[in-house]
Amino acid sequence: MSVVSELSHIRAPKAKSAEERRARRKAAGRDNKAAYLFLLPWLIGLFVITIGPMLASLYLSFTDYSLIESPTWTGLANYTRMLDDARLHQALQVTFTYVLVSVPLQLAVALGVAMLLNQGMRGLPLYRSVFYLPSMLGASVAIALLWAQMFGTDGLVNQVLRLFGVDAHTGWISTPQYALSTLILLHIWTFGSPMVIFLAGLRQIPQMYYEAAAVDGASRWHRFRKITLPLLSPIIFFNLVLQIIGAFQSFTQAHVVSNGTGGPSDSTLFYTLYLYQRGFGEFEMGYAAAMAWLLVVIVGAATAINFFASRYWVFYDD
């Protein structure tokens, strides 16, 4: 129901006759139509660009589709095949490790920096922009290429280490043990967008709570633990949900850094990268569509768990 019609309800006195009621319903209907008309561009987008392709991909996930020929129905074959696909299991392992390690670390760094910036220092807008910059660039191809250079065998990182007398010849992105950690580091570095949100959240906490606590002799840690964290928990929750969803969908960094292979030894085979390899590299778009739907289920489940768990730790001050 549109705002206008609600207002008209408030304005108008109680309807006296059936005729009057009918006229009013008609007016309300007209208002609704106007609302839908204004929503039309968005609705067209939703159905044509989002829901339509989603349904198509759901259909394709039950087919054998080579991109070049038309799809043929194969029932659940794509889904049962997932059970014995060793690379899929590897991709799941890599992706879960990435999400479980990089998201908490990134949020911790973001919160830490946000609290530093919240001290009311001079030149805050400058620092805020500087720290925010990486998250604008982090998912870009240029930064991923730069990362690959920096962490190469003869890259900047090793050269700096050598300055300090370390005989560093490890290829940080070309050795299976370290490659994923390097990508996790890249993700943590892009802490800017949760940081800005944290910063806004910190500003919302009334100063008087801290003053009262300080008068009562609460230590810095206690003030953080008992005032900042609870009052910030809705913001933390918001960041957590968004970042987890985003991390599950990471693609660019791994694709660029590993040259599209997910190597070395499949150690950076992100789920979406494997999906891409299957769909576009090996002409198995049906299987790729089924994988996409598995990812939808996984992300949905992770978000549901998040919302369920939030009851126990998120505190709404109202």
Partner: protein, 432 residues
């Protein structure tokens, strides 16, 4: 008043929608031209390449459009690694380029799925082609790719690196895989710090050579042409090369594979040898500023006449089966492979021209390196065995699969027997 405003709004939206619809139509009809008439057309022309090839190809296209002002050609150059993703997406979206530079690894992927035009039906002329150079472009009896150049796998050797390390040049008519390993190890040991013996030669073409020398093939008519016991020695050899330090470390190999030709170890003077295709010699020489020496790949028996060499179509000219201008497309391909004008622009960059008259026409103009390659191709005729068949659908990625299991082996995560078993298992399940 309100009514008027709403009418105005609806009208406006309708107009906007109509505009959108129109522009969508405009976007969809590119590449169409005035199809059917055959006298005027606009064509999409896609290829992958290096700097030299991009320049040649653009020049040849310009020459063609100047001679045929009614034909417009939109160029789509690309890099090999991303070319295939793009082509698959374009094909799925019914936007495949009209003329497609095709590779043997993918020709049956597209050809068997009827995505490629039957070129002979529209008058493709391969009558002057040297024997055995046409059939690699035939899928299910239809000519879907015209050989763009003859190619053969070679080992390139950097004489400067050999001289600096004071290592004798190997005799490529008698050397075995084992001797190649020893030479590589010697270069690495004596070449000074940062020098590697050879870039890892363990790619699908060399596996094919190794299997053929042992009486097998990568692929045969019924699928995979080998089994686990046939590739255990191969993975053992990879491990031996690594143990002897004839090839770089696993992590260096990984970094190397992401580099473009001009940044790789051979071109930058850090490696003594590397496996390449014969048509790439010119590009490697240009990138390195060194004249590389072309060597035969080794054999199991130590006798080059038993090394089971083969000619490969370096690439092929194919066309989308959905092109609106099949005549114009085939006309341009014919010009490309049969006209001295085009041959003189491209020379042997895509490999030695399969059309013998073209080869004769360009011979005086070839650079010393290209002339040497043309002579090499001629010289190895007695060493040729049957041409390998095109990989079946799902077989084009066999090199990637092998590379992954070799990586596991070189990083010490598996042993040759397990790597062989997993490789065969995966290669089999990928075939369709």
């Amino acid at each position: 008043m309100a009514l008027n405003r709403r009418q105005f709004l609806i009208g406006g939206l309708g107009a906007a929608a109509a505009t959108m619809g129109l522009s969508a139509c405009g976007g969809g009809s590119d590449g169409g031209g005035s199809g059917g008439s055959g006298d005027s057309a606009s064509l999409q022309f896609a290829w992958w390449g290096n700097e030299v090839r991009n320049k040649n190809t653009a020049a040849a296209i310009d020459a063609y459009t100047k001679a045929h002002p009614n034909i417009k050609v939109a160029q789509q150059p690309g890099e090999f690694s991303t070319y295939w993703d793009k082509l698959a997406t374009q094909t799925a979206g019914n936007k495949a380029p009209d003329i497609i530079q095709m590779d043997m690894a993918y020709i049956s992927e597209y050809g068997k799925r009827k995505a490629l035009l039957d070129l002979e039906k529209y008058g493709a002329d391969v009558s002057k082609f040297v024997e055995g150079s046409v059939d690699s472009g035939r899928i299910d009896g239809k000519l879907v790719g015209v050989n763009a150049g003859i190619n053969t796998p070679v080992i390139l050797m950097n004489p400067a690196v050999f001289a600096k390390a004071k290592v004798a040049e190997p005799d490529d008519k008698t050397w075995t895989w084992d001797q190649m390993k020893q030479v590589g190890a010697e270069i690495a040991a004596k070449g000074g710090s940062g020098t590697v013996g050879m870039q890892s030669p363990f790619v699908d073409a060399m596996l094919s050579a190794f299997l053929r020398q042992n009486g097998k093939e990568l692929f045969n008519d019924s699928g995979l042409g080998f089994d686990v016991p046939d590739v255990v020695p191969w993975f053992q050899m990879v491990a031996d090369f690594a143990a002897a330090k004839a090839i770089p470390s696993a992590s260096q190999i990984t970094e190397e594979q992401a580099k473009s030709l001009d940044q790789q170890a051979l071109a930058t003077g850090k490696a003594g040898m590397a496996m390449f295709w014969s048509n790439q010699v010119e590009a490697v020489n240009k990138a390195s500023g060194t004249e590389m020496k072309v060597l035969r790949f080794p054999s199991v028996s130590g006798n080059a006449t038993e090394r089971k060499a083969w000619y490969k179509a370096s690439m092929l000219w194919s066309a989308s089966s959905r092109t609106k201008n099949p005549e114009a497309v085939v006309q341009m391909i014919n010009w490309w492979v049969n006209s001295p004008e085009c041959a003189n622009i491209n020379l042997a960059e895509r490999g030695v021209p399969p059309n013998t008259e073209m080869l004769a026409a360009i011979k005086p103009k070839l650079s010393p390196a290209q002339a040497a390659v043309a002579k090499f191709i001629e010289d190895i005729k007695p060493e040729l065995a049957a041409t390998p068949i095109a990989p079946p659908p799902g077989g084009g990625k066999i090199g990637d699969i092998m590379n992954r299991h070799q990586g596991d082996l070189l990083f010490g995560r598996t042993n040759p027997a397990d790597a062989a078993a997993k490789f065969v298992d995966e290669a089999k399940s990928n075939l369709k």
